[in-house]
Symmetry: C2
Subunit: 411 residues, 2 copies
């Protein structure tokens, strides 16, 4: 789904080439060799959909949730205009627009990413349910089903890692590029919005690309195998992109982002025997194959029974409970990352796990699946949801004359 | 300095090729094309020196400090034996030795790095001053100058990010590989040692390789330009590797690691004008050149004065105060990483900065430089040292019959 531009380095553009068409550079110097350095490419910012949803999942994540501190609608719109231009520039690998070379002003860009390639950076915005309160006159445009997520089984939420008026997902193959994006938006938002929480993800656990390997989660398992792929337009339209639903034209082509900070009790998990770990997931650990198959991508046979008459994929195995076959066909697009944030001071255990992100056409898709998993999934012995947020990610920005969420403010 | 083996994937070795010689694979499939995927290679674990000191700096860091909870010397030695074998296997990209395929035992390896290439992983160990107390009979072998770092200007230390009996530095080009190493050592140490603190570094800020670019720190500046290089054997011998100093034969070929968690007040920094930022560092922001030069690698001219008669590189500029020319020739090998750990709950500012690591033949080298910087460096307005540790990293492990620090325990 994602079209890629040629490799363009921030450094190369310092010389003033930013305004030139870039198409002429494509492929130069690469003839005869396999492919350009992975991650050097540019993902276009403008389009029907925001980038960063169906885009092939990049390796690293920086996520930030913001609270809007100004109650002035024009401040909010002004920030979104500034953010849009900055995000678009950063995805091309050039500096945040504004004065950067004048000696007597603070540089417009914080500078730490100068010289780094675009690294497939995508910056994706979403609006939290609270943004639609009385402050900005947005209440009439709030889709009726768009509220904070209900209490769900398996969750003990930390309010300092939950919620937010605005969410920013920055993904890139270089973590410095992803962090730079979030940091610069936070800086540009000063006076209008304050950072509520942030999360770094050091390794992707899902893939959406058709030739991307599935990476393992911190339990050592492949759990993103049956994800929606970026070339599966039908599934994207059915399960990910908002269509012509009544009352949310500003969301057409957008999607709902659910984020859950899922702490894994890795110390307990690591004491479990291999056979039990495999029956918790319903997959072989090393090959990633379902317990009824030989290869990672074999379709699980949920009806298969062993010589003892028992189900080969146990009744409460994660792969069974999460499968669309067992959820009336319901699917979501997963885009989660492994995280670690040091030591839990209460237990001296690692504070580590999965920063789960999913995109869906309606938050109810996630809620339904999580209710199915939350009450029965054997994985629950080893995980706890400790942070949560939901954001409505509006339609894509068509070109440089528009800003993020403009159709909402002009609705 | 660092010899590299061929690309070897964890996945490739699962089939049982681990015991075969690997030299035959070298270069296969790469003929005609530039170079293998960066970061896929293996850095040898065994050698005169520990890897991870003069090794070309990898992109990502996972660091952990441990407290030894057992007071039994044989437990400590047993853990070091286990750790050595595990670290050596992980640097080859194979699983932690032990039972991993048996169904009725917990896997020996936590598994999340299976399928990832070695990614130039190095695992480096150091012993803290406290390890030489009465517990393990090591007091007679403590080098006289090896104590906790004294109070230094610019530091307000958090005890939960300071000290430790043992330090483990894991560096790799894939953060998941670095984290996997630290996590598995923590797990293998259970019952003998407990993790005291950890730190992830997402981007290197120094280089030691002769053809490595200098990466920028979170202030947007290049500050590792004049580092000791991995091919400068004379400087390494003079400033980094312990030689025949009396009373520390177990440290011969080793080095002292200083770690400082340096919080940067990036919000205040970002409000400073470009010219002032440049005079704080004594370098141009965009080119990285000293204010007396045109190119990053030009030698600073500390005597040069402008038309106004003022020093071009100001008296309190960081590059001047840190320069060996102004510190009686004193040098250290820097190996620091940028970090961010979310939001400071007190200020809502980003908790971000530099996890400074340096290696030196004697901790006094760092202390001397930091005293010089700490009292006068203009950078101090924007940084604070909030964590600190010093570790004695013993001589290298020659082969599989030895373990980390063995000469200390047999001294």
């Amino acid at each position: 789904m994602t079209l890629r531009g040629p490799r363009v380095s921030r450094r190369g553009l310092l010389g003033g080439a930013a305004g030139l068409g870039l198409a002429g550079v494509a492929g130069a110097g690469l003839a005869g060799c396999a492919s350009p350095a992975p991650g050097a490419q540019t993902v276009p910012f403008y389009g029907e959909h925001q980038a960063g949803v169906s885009t092939d999942v990049q390796d690293r994540l920086a996520f930030a949730a913001f609270d809007v501190t100004s109650a002035d609608r024009s401040d909010l719109i002004g920030m979104l205009r500034t953010w849009t231009a900055a995000a678009e520039a950063m995805t091309r690998g050039v500096r945040v627009p504004g004065e950067s070379d004048a000696q007597q002003v603070p540089p417009a860009d914080t500078g730490e990413a100068i010289g780094l390639p675009p690294s497939e950076l995508t910056v994706t915005i979403g609006f939290g349910p609270k943004l639609f309160d009385q402050r900005f006159g947005l209440a009439p445009h709030k889709p009726p089903q768009f509220t904070d997520l209900p209490d769900l089984p398996g969750a003990i939420l930390d309010p300092t890692r939950t919620g937010g008026d605005i969410g920013i997902q920055a993904c890139a193959n270089d973590p410095a590029v992803a962090f730079h994006a979030v940091r610069n938006l936070a800086r540009l938002g000063k006076g209008t919005a304050v950072t509520r929480w942030t999360q770094l993800g050091f390794g992707r656990t899902s893939s959406t690309g058709t030739n991307q390997q599935t990476e393992r989660n911190l339990m050592g398992f492949k759990d993103g195998t049956r994800n929606i792929k970026s070339n599966d337009g039908q599934a994207l339209d059915e399960f990910v992109w908002v269509g012509d639903e009544a009352g949310q034209r500003w969301m057409k082509g957008g999607s709902y982002l659910v984020a859950r900070r899922i702490r894994m009790f890795v110390e307990a998990w690591d004491r479990d025997v291999l056979s039990d770990q495999e029956s918790v997931f319903g997959r072989e650990k090393y090959t990633g194959a379902p317990l009824t198959g030989k290869d990672e991508f074999d379709t699980p046979d949920f009806a298969a029974r062993g010589p003892d008459g028992e189900l080969v994929i146990p009744e409460r195995a994660h792969v069974r409970l999460a499968a669309f076959e067992n959820n009336r066909g319901l699917r979501i697009l997963r885009r989660g990352y492994s995280f670690t944030d040091g030591i839990d001071p209460e237990t001296s255990d690692l504070d580590a796990g999965l920063f789960f992100i999913s995109y869906q056409r309606d938050p109810m898709q996630f809620i339904t699946l999580q209710r199915s998993l939350g009450s029965r999934d054997r994985l629950n012995e080893y995980v706890r949801h400790v942070g949560s947020a939901v954001f409505a990610c509006p339609t894509g920005v068509p070109d440089a004359t528009h800003y993020w969420g403009q159709p909402l403010f002009e609705a």
